[in-house]
Amino acid sequence: MIRPLEHIVIPSGLIALGGLLGWSLFLAITGETGDRLAEIALARVPDSGVSNPVTSVLLNFRAYDTLLELAVLLTALLGIWSLGAAGPGFQKAASVLEGMVAGFVPLLILSAGYMLWVGAYAPGGAFQAGALLGAAGVMLALAGHRNAGLPSEDRLRPLVALGVFVFAITGVLLAVVGGGFLTYPAGLAKWLILIIETAATLSIGATLAAAYLGGRPAPEHATRESA
């Protein structure tokens, strides 16, 4: 049986809306414009201290956006923590899964380090590296490690705040020494970006793993190494 609202009106309305949006996008892309931002950005990549255009946009040209995005991640985690403690978690994995996890987690951590470093000149960077660390944490949690390999709450808090802290303090210090907020001095850009990305990687990894736990980590016995 055909219900007119559900089967005709809403779908055709959505199709019309999608068509309108697609048409606007088509007009927007084909329209006459002058210098586009992407070309300007590509031309300035050599001045940014890194040769990967994505990293130079995220960590240099539009670093302030990235700073606030890291703050968004932190906010999400704090919001999750405000709702209560984490559930009991999964039971301890049997030997096969445990053996696989024991092999994969170090590999993930290693790949995260590689991703972080390679981000300067090829696809990669703090978010990708952090996602790998987070995946390592999720794997540990699935295999029954109670806190996903994260340290106790007292030490986890500085860890999740580290990325935003290093980023923001770098910005303010650069303003104090006279360059302006998040204005990297020539020559130092590469190293400052690397320091910020390293801190961000650790925080992103810890935040994602902690968010997966779905609540504040259990207070007692911190399990093994930090993700």
């Binding site: 309108l20 949006l21 048409w23 606007s24 996008l25 007009l27 927007a28 892309i29 329209g31 414009t33 002058g34 210098d35 586009r36 931002l37 992407a38 300007i40 950005a41 300035r44 240099n60 040209f61 539009r62 670093a63 302030y64 956006d65 700073l67 606030l68 995005e69 703050a71 968004v72 932190l74 906010t75 999400a76 704090l78 919001g79 923590w81 405000s82 709702l83 209560g84 808090r157 500085p158 999740v160 705040a161 935003v164 802290f165 923001a168 303090i169 910005g171 303010v172 303003a175 104090v176 360059g179 302006g180 907020f181 998040l182 204005t183 990297y184």
Partner: protein
């Protein structure tokens, strides 16, 4: 000298990190962070006041490539209001939350504050999206702090609605970027030209924002979310967070899409605003709980702000339009102070009485003269009685509607004002219906004085001393 603009965003952020790392000292560190933030933001406002519009190119890249922060009269006015209200809310929260909740309140609160300052100062369409995300996420998390089932459900809905609004805004930004290749507000304003692209982008962006600003009939999420949040959070949500969405809609309307607009769009917003005024006021009158009344009153007050759009669209550029714009800003600022004061006082009443059912408030309100007085003052400003800022603002809007011959807006505003008087007096009459002698005027200084102060600013400060606002708004146009 260090640029004050990025500091107003970064200082609350660093404060939030400090309370995240040392939750045991959340209250002390949080209050210190609040004070420093407010000082830095008010510095921005005084700088704009004395030197004109400010701009900071972050990263030193300059307009199309990098991101800029900018403060003109409009943003400086909202910034000052938001930071004064937030400071009062912070002082109140210092005495309101127990230790366990305070651990969660302070980091999220300072993050929200950072997002607010970032939003008022942003000059880049994509950066505005990031601040909207930060704002929506922290606001929903704060709203759920009471942990009750209703609060969590209402704020989950708030979060999802907020995300929908942000997504719609982002889609509009993507369209603008695809068409014009720039994101800086000033550059987009230069590039934008009438046509289907600009029209669709405007609809998406302003549509997303009015969802966040809870404009009727998209207000359904607001009353439960605001009424179930802890009192200081309700105050911030109602006074500041919805106001931020309105600010951004106004900013886009005035600075970016000015050449694209038709009167039809303005009239549509005005009609929705009129619906909000009537429906919100009516529901406020019928509300059984004080905080629900305050929340519906927010729906109504947001309506007045949107009625300004058709008036602005119909007024030719010149002194009359500038006056009208200043009146709208004055209305928004006064509502910020008044509604925050009302929610803080209501929270005090609720805490003392153990409930906030209006019909049973008599004795409880009598025991709290300062809180009741604050409700009265806030009420004066919400109704729009002289000498409040609302009176002046509504008067100027009514006058302009008369001059333009758009008398129907006048009728709506009159009806809304009458209904506002009815719902405020309904509360006050309950507060005075028994006669035990008040014990003390002020019972708990740290929670009652902020509410009282906000009420005083709304009623006397902004009404009698509204002149400076006119001067501030003259300070430079954006872009």
């Amino acid at each position: 000298m260090i640029d004050a603009l990025p500091l107003a965003v970064t200082l609350p952020l660093i404060g939030a990190l400090a309370v995240t790392v040392w939750p045991a000292h959340a209250r002390g560190l949080g209050l210190a962070g609040a004070l420093i933030t407010a000082v830095s933001a008010l510095t921005v406002t005084t700088e704009v006041w004395s030197r004109g519009a400010l701009r900071a190119d972050l990263g030193g890249w300059g307009a199309p490539l990098g991101i800029a922060l900018e403060a003109d009269g409009l943003s400086a006015a909202f910034l000052a209001m938001a930071n004064l209200v937030a400071l009062a809310v912070s002082v109140y929260a210092g005495g309101y939350f127990k230790r366990e909740t305070a651990r969660h309140f302070w980091p999220l609160w300072l993050l929200l504050w950072s997002a607010l300052n970032g939003l008022f100062l942003a000059a880049d369409l994509f950066n505005l999206y990031v601040t909207l995300e930060l704002l929506g996420l922290s606001a929903a998390a704060l709203g759920a702090l009471t942990g009750t089932r209703e609060a969590v459900a209402a704020n989950l809905r708030y979060l999802l609605v907020g995300l929908l609004g942000s997504m719609s805004y982002l889609l509009g930004v993507a369209l603008v970027y695809a068409a014009y290749g720039v994101l800086d507000i000033g550059l987009v304003a230069e590039a934008v030209e009438p046509g289907p692209v600009a029209w669709t982008a405007m609809t998406l962006m302003i549509g997303g924002l009015i969802l966040k600003a809870a404009l009727f009939p998209m207000h359904f999420w607001l009353p439960p979310a605001h009424a179930n949040a802890p009192a200081p959070v309700s105050a911030a949500l109602s006074a500041l967070v919805v106001k931020a969405a309105f600010y951004l809609a106004l900013r886009l309307w005035l600075d970016v899409f000015a050449p694209v607009l038709g009167e039809a769009a303005a009239n549509l917003l005005g009609i929705l605003g009129a619906g909000a005024v009537v429906w919100g006021s009516w529901r406020a009158l019928r509300a059984e709980r004080l905080k629900l009344l305050a929340a519906y009153s927010t729906v109504a007050q947001m309506g007045y702000l949107f009625i300004a759009f058709p008036l602005l669209a119909a007024t030719p550029p010149g002194l009359a339009r500038e006056n009208l714009l200043a009146a709208v800003v004055l209305l928004a600022l006064t509502h910020g102070f008044a509604k925050a004061g009302l929610f803080l006082a209501a929270g005090m009443v609720q805490k003392t009485a153990g409930h906030d059912r209006i019909d049973e408030l008599g004795g409880a309100a009598q025991a709290l003269p300062a809180a009741t007085f604050a409700i009265g003052l806030a009420g004066v400003a919400l109704i729009g009685l002289p000498p409040s800022g609302t009176f002046l603002a509504k008067w100027m809007m009514l006058e302009q509607a008369m001059i333009l011959g758009l008398w129907w807006w006048l009728v709506v505003m009159m009806v809304g004002t009458l209904l506002a008087a009815a719902y405020i007096f309904r509360v006050l009459s309950r507060a005075f219906n028994r006669e035990p002698t008040p014990y003390r005027f002020v019972n708990d200084a740290s929670t009652e004085l902020p509410a009282l102060l906000l009420g005083l600013i709304a009623t006397f400060g902004l009404g009698i001393a509204a002149q400076p606002l006119w001067r501030l708004l003259e300070q430079g146009a954006f872009g």
